[in-house]
Structures are given as C-alpha cells and as structure tokens.
C-alpha cells in the first residue's frame, strides 16, 4: 500500500511557507510506511515552492513530487482537487494522507467523491491489525472514539488531526525530486484577499493564569460568577467559541483553533467540555484544571486536576478558598 503525503504551504505575506501541521503528517506517513512495509512519498502543490521541495528531498522518502501550475498559485478547491487527483492516478498511490487543515477540509471531500471514495477525516491515531490499517476518529465532540476501516479498493484517503502525530519524529534521508504538471482549467471560484480583523486589544498569550468559560455557564448573566474567580486568581478571563459566538464575551477572548493559542502557567476551564477545536488552543498550558459536571467530558483527558460537579456551587466555593489561601 504505497503512501503519499500531501503537504500544505501558504503564502500569507511573503513567499510560500509551510503549514507546520504538514510535518506531523509527514512523520505519520513515515511511521505508516515502516509498519506496513511500503514506500512513502510526499507532494507539494503551488508556484514558487522549490525551496520547500528541496527541504523535503532531505527526508527519508521515496519521491518528492512538485505539482506546479500557474493555476495553483492561489488555492481553489477546483484546481487543488483536480491536481491531487491526477497525481494520485500518476503515482498509483494507495493511501493518501493530509493534515486536517481548513484548506484540506475544503477540497479533500471533493477529491475523494470524484474518485467514488470517502475520506476518513480528522484521524487521531492508527493501528495495524493483521496487516490492515485501522484508523481512530472521535465522535460526539470527542466524547467517544471509533475504529474505522477502509472497505473496497484503494486509493484510500485520510486527514490527520493537529497534534495527533509529532513533527519532531520526521526521519531525515534523501528523496528523488520529480516535477508533475497537471492539466487544469480555471476555477469557477475566485479567491480574493486574505485579511485579519482589527488588531486584538486583549493579548491572552501574555497571561500567566487564564480562567476560561464554556457553555456550562448557561447564560450571559452568569458570566460574573467566573469573573469573580478570575479576579481572585489575578487571571485573564477567556472563553470557548460558543460563548463568543453568542456575544457573551468579545471574540478577542476566544481560545481555540479559530481564536488565540495560549500556554499559561495555569489554565482553569469552567464548564468547557473540551471539543478538539478548543483543546488545540490550550493543551500546551503548564497546569490544566477543569470543572465540569460530566466526568466523561474530554477536557478531563488533558487536565492535571479536575472537579466533577456543578460549577454554580463549585466556583463560588473556589473563590472563597482562593481568597483564604492568598491571605
């Protein structure tokens, strides 16, 4: 089952640069190749990506494919899915893996559908059983896991969750470089400018302690309950996405994949279940504390300390104890 890793680059400001998640996928590709005793190659799409391709030729890979075309300079799902489809047909790759980025989410299902396949998206782990690959995904926002197997004929497609594999495990070596030119027609979709919203007034990354609040707080009027805890600890107040979506706290206080990524000395999650989109933004924190009524909440998987209980009773008690401890 020859393996192909599709790397991702983007040119936000300046020349194309890696999306670092690609290197986690590359490490996974090498690991799978070892376990399945199959060759692994990597591909990079775009224009002006020679420097990035050269970096790939110094890794333990069979081939590095540079998929170059004027129409690949700016990403569109039409051109990217057509280009990868042609590369898969050209190489005969049987297992094609991607980092589970926003861009991959935009074109991988289209590519798989065009080939009559279903991609296994957002994979967190794998095993090889009797020479067959078993992929692990999360269900119900991370509350359960499920083993998934491919059925039918290859090619098989999968995307890997951020942080599921370690980029520092990539093995160096050398690889042959090959340029592949796909046949493309212009996309119906016109990509326009990339931009960021107004500068952030709150820099959560500078906070030593963060108290973060999630859906468990139930309504906007209850926010002062956790604000009191933040005040007692001298912490910044942050939130998970739903709280900012609802306008209960400003967007600039959002922690997670679409908000800020933080790693304070202590991160105290109150009423946050711990969907992966939130976890990727805070799991690097030194000490993680979680308060949640559901002992199976995924937040407890990354927590050092946890209280299973009703936050409306636990948080006021905690404020009192913190104040006592600080006297």
């Amino acid at each position: 089952m020859s393996i192909l890793v599709v790397m991702e680059q983007r040119a936000v400001s300046g020349p194309p640069a890696w999306n670092r998640m690609s290197w986690e996928t590359l490490a996974a590709g090498q690991q799978l190749a070892g376990e399945l005793r199959q060759p692994v190659s990597a591909a990079i799409l775009g224009q002006g990506v020679d420097n990035l391709a050269a970096e790939l030729t110094n890794q333990k890979l069979d081939h590095v494919f540079v998929v170059a075309h004027d129409l690949l300079k700016d990403y569109t799902p039409d051109t990217y899915s057509a280009a990868v489809r042609q590369l898969v047909e050209h190489t005969g790759a049987q297992l094609v893996i991607f980092p589970h980025t926003y861009q991959v989410r935009d074109f991988l299902p289209k590519l798989a559908t065009a080939l009559g396949r279903v991609a296994v998206s957002d994979v967190v782990a794998h095993r090889v059983e009797d020479g067959r690959l078993v992929l692990v995904r999360q269900l119900f926002q991370g509350k359960l896991n499920v083993d998934v197997r491919f059925a039918g004929d290859p090619p098989y497609f999968a995307s890997l969750q951020a942080g599921a594999y370690r980029a520092d495990r990539v093995e160096p070596g050398s690889a042959a470089l090959e340029t592949f030119t796909p046949q493309l027609s212009p996309s119906r979709i016109k990509p326009l400018e990339l931009f960021r919203e107004a500068a952030r007034a709150v820099d959560l990354t500078a906070a030593e302690i963060i108290v973060s609040v999630g859906r468990g707080i139930k309504e906007a009027d209850n926010i002062p309950i956790v604000q009191k805890l933040a005040d007692a600890l001298g912490a910044e107040l942050a939130a998970s996405r739903p709280i900012c979506d609802a306008g209960w706290l400003p967007m600039e206080r959002q922690v997670g994949s679409s908000g800020q990524t933080v790693a304070p000395k202590m991160y105290l999650a109150v009423g946050i279940s711990g969907a992966i989109q939130h976890l990727v933004g805070m799991k690097g924190s030194k000490t993680i504390v979680a308060i949640n009524k559901d002992s199976n909440a995924p937040i407890f998987e990354v927590a050092d300390y946890g209280i299973v209980g009703d936050l409306f009773q636990v948080v006021p008690a905690l404020v009192e104890e913190v104040q006592k401890a600080k006297q």
Binding site: R105, P109, E197, V322
Partner: protein
C-alpha cells in the same frame, strides 16, 4: 432567490452517551435530540437572505421519523416548506451515500443556493456539504462567516486558521458550508409555530429517490470511551471540600497560587 438548507437532527450536546452492546453505535432510545448547531446557523442565514432578497427557503433533512421534530422547528422559525428523506437507519449510509440521498432530493429543486452546517456534532466528518457540491456540480466554499448576494454571484468570507479570513467570489448556483456564530439565531415565535402546522412537509424514502445504500467505502467497527492521556487527579464531593482540596494542590503541588 431559492435557498435549500440541509439540516440534521443530532443527540443534544449535553447527552450522556452509552455505547450499544453491539459496539457499533450508541444507545439512543432515551436521548434528547436537536438541530445540529452549525445547521441552525445555516438555516438562520437562509432566512436572513430571504428577508433581504425575497424568494423561498426549503429545508431538507435525512433522518428517521423523529427528525420530523427538527423539521417542524425549522418551519416554525420561518422556512417555507420541507423535504424529509425518511430513513430509519442512516448508519447504513457512509458520507457519500448520505450525500447521494440529499443530492437526489435536491437536484429537481434547482436552487440558487444550498447551505449546510460545516460539520455535524455527532459524526463530525465535516464532509457532507463538499461532497454534495461535487455530486451536484456546484462551486462551493466552506467555513463561511459572511454571505453577500450579488447579481448572479455570491461573495463570502471564509474563516482560515489563526484569525485569518479570505473573501471568495463564485457564480450562483453555489453551495456554502456555514460556521457557527455567523449570525444570531432566532427563536420560533408562537405565531411561527402555529403557521408551521399548515406548511408542506414532503416525505420521501431512499427507494423513492433511487439512492438506496450501496456498499460503504468506510466501516465503523467499534465505539469506545477514549483513554486518558494524562494522569488526572479528580475530586468529587461537597463543593466546599473539593474546592479546598484543589486549592491546596494548586498552592503546594503545582505552585501556581
């Protein structure tokens, strides 16, 4: 403008999940269900576009008989009519099979715009919208935070990682997958609930659509509770007691207070 919004009914977010004895799915007999949250935002966006530009909002939902409750809620919020693809066992369909069902019901409607949520809270593949676009031959964009209809085209704001966004333009008809938080959800009014009772819900089956479940290309073999990656010290008991225990740990063990 005619918009079709695809919605899914999923177990309520705060459900306690138990794996069924077969290991193949959860025990869902006694669970509460709701409209998948990103789909609720997609519906709201459809309703707001109708208020601005006129036209019709059609709700499309594949699911068992109980999904009729989600459809009635969507009609009460203001959708004009609905199509219910009634299938008791959607688990027999992989994401491509499920999208084929939706595509078969959607194609004759010839909508200007198709909206879906960006992913479901249950399976979470995040693929149905994009697969549907490919099956229907429509241009698409995902994780959308703003929709602006123009003459024969649509200009949207895509969310990217790390606080970045991108504007993208495409001709209509098109398909968009909507991100939670794009708008403010409305509640159904009493008047809306009353009106919904006389709105059309057309019920069809996979067989009617000629899109019965084919051999799936991926198989879910076993569900289980994930193991912990960290040694978590968990405290349970009277609030005052557990709060004191935690503060002691934070002060003397973690040394963060």
């Amino acid at each position: 403008m005619k918009t079709v919004v695809c919605i899914k009914q999923v177990p309520a977010r705060d459900s306690q999940f138990r794996v069924a004895p077969s290991g193949a799915w959860i025990q869902d007999a006694d669970l509460a269900f709701e409209i998948n949250e990103p789909d609720a935002y997609a519906l709201e966006e459809g309703l707001q576009l109708k208020e601005k530009h006129g036209g019709e909002v059609v709700v499309l939902c594949a699911g068992p008989a109980r999904a009729a409750q989600a459809i009635r809620e969507a009609l009460a919020k203001g959708a004009d009519r609905a199509i219910h693809i009634q299938e008791e066992d959607l688990g027999a369909f992989d994401p491509l099979g499920a999208a084929r069902l939706l595509a078969a019901a959607l194609a004759p409607e010839k909508p200007d715009l198709v909206l879906t949520g960006l992913q479901s809270d249950d399976l979470g593949y995040g693929q149905t919208g994009v697969i549907l676009a490919e099956l229907l031959g429509l241009p698409h964009a995902t994780i959308i935070m703003q929709v602006e209809k123009q003459d024969g085209s649509v200009r949207v704001k895509r969310e990217l990682e790390d606080g970045w966004f991108q504007h993208v333009e495409m001709p209509l008809p098109a398909l968009l997958t909507i991100q939670s938080g794009i708008n403010k959800l409305r509640y159904a009014t009493l008047m809306g609930i009353k009106k919904a009772k006389s709105k059309e819900i057309r019920t069809v089956t996979a067989a009617d659509l000629g899109a019965a479940a084919a051999a799936p290309s991926i198989q879910l073999s076993r569900l289980y509770v994930p193991g912990r990656s960290k040694q978590t010290q968990l405290f349970e008991g009277p609030p005052k007691e557990v709060a004191a225990k935690l503060v002691e740990k934070l002060k003397f063990e973690a040394r963060v207070i």
